[in-house]
Amino acid sequence: MTVSELAAVQGFEAVTLPDGERKIGGVYIGDLLSWVMGRAKADDAWITIMSNINVAAVAALADVACVILAEGVELDGTVKETAESKGINVLTAHMPAYETAMALASRL
């Protein structure tokens, strides 16, 4: 499914959607940035509760399809603008990481 399609699913909400047509290839869950860079694959949806500026850089460099902030977490300060300008899709999910992944798994 595409990131835009996921954003329309109940419980998910778009924060930034500059590249909504991007296809989600898999899922990776993690908050330690080096683990994410070492283990996430390109096109994964990355589920995390981290919300600082470095999340935007890691998402860009690891080439994930989107960041999904679990637990309804909000982006810090100006991270939203940075993500938007870097072409990073960010969604919020109003549920814990496990339920977020389950909701995704049934649709991939």
């Binding site: 330690l32 940035l33 080096s34 070492g38 981290m50 500026i53 470095n54």
Partner: protein, 144 residues
């Protein structure tokens, strides 16, 4: 692949050691440059992640430094140079999970002790040259 490159392209960056929020700027810029050169996405991903980990290390552990990226027709070479404290035991530093990062850095999601292992994982060549009290130079190469 880069076709008919007459001479290697060299990109040079200063990495600010005091600014954690701008950390990663050099790597993001390199990613952009490589994309414009038409280099394949997987190579770009490997170069960007390896460089970002090194850049972050220079910010966290060494008060910044300089980065040089050399794009030739067979590889992308990344040279990261700092005049920080140096690494006393490289073998130990290379182990997954080893970290001397302070708590404030950990709360940002760094300091998992996976940076140097990631740099090794994503590159075809990596060499660490470090002298305690003098600084560290890390050379990495990703072949196409």
């Amino acid at each position: 692949m880069v076709n008919y490159m007459a001479e290697p392209l060299v990109f040079h960056f200063e990495v600010d050691g005091d600014n954690f929020t701008s950390a990663g700027q050099a790597s993001v810029q390199v990613k952009k440059n490589l994309r414009e050169l038409g280099i394949d996405p997987e190579t770009i991903r490997r170069v960007s992640i390896a460089m970002y980990e090194g850049e972050i290390n220079m910010v966290i552990h060494a008060h910044g430094g300089v980065a040089e990226v050399i794009v030739s027709d067979e590889s992308v070479e990344i040279i990261l140079k700092d005049t920080g404290p140096g690494i006393p035991n490289i073998e130990q530093a290379m182990q997954e999970g080893f970290s001397t990062a302070p708590d404030n850095v950990r709360s940002l999601g760094f300091g998992a002790g996976m940076g140097l292992p990631n740099m090794k994982r994503y590159t075809d060549y990596m060499h660490i040259d470090s002298v305690v009290g003098v600084g560290t130079t890390i050379t990495m190469k990703v072949n196409y």
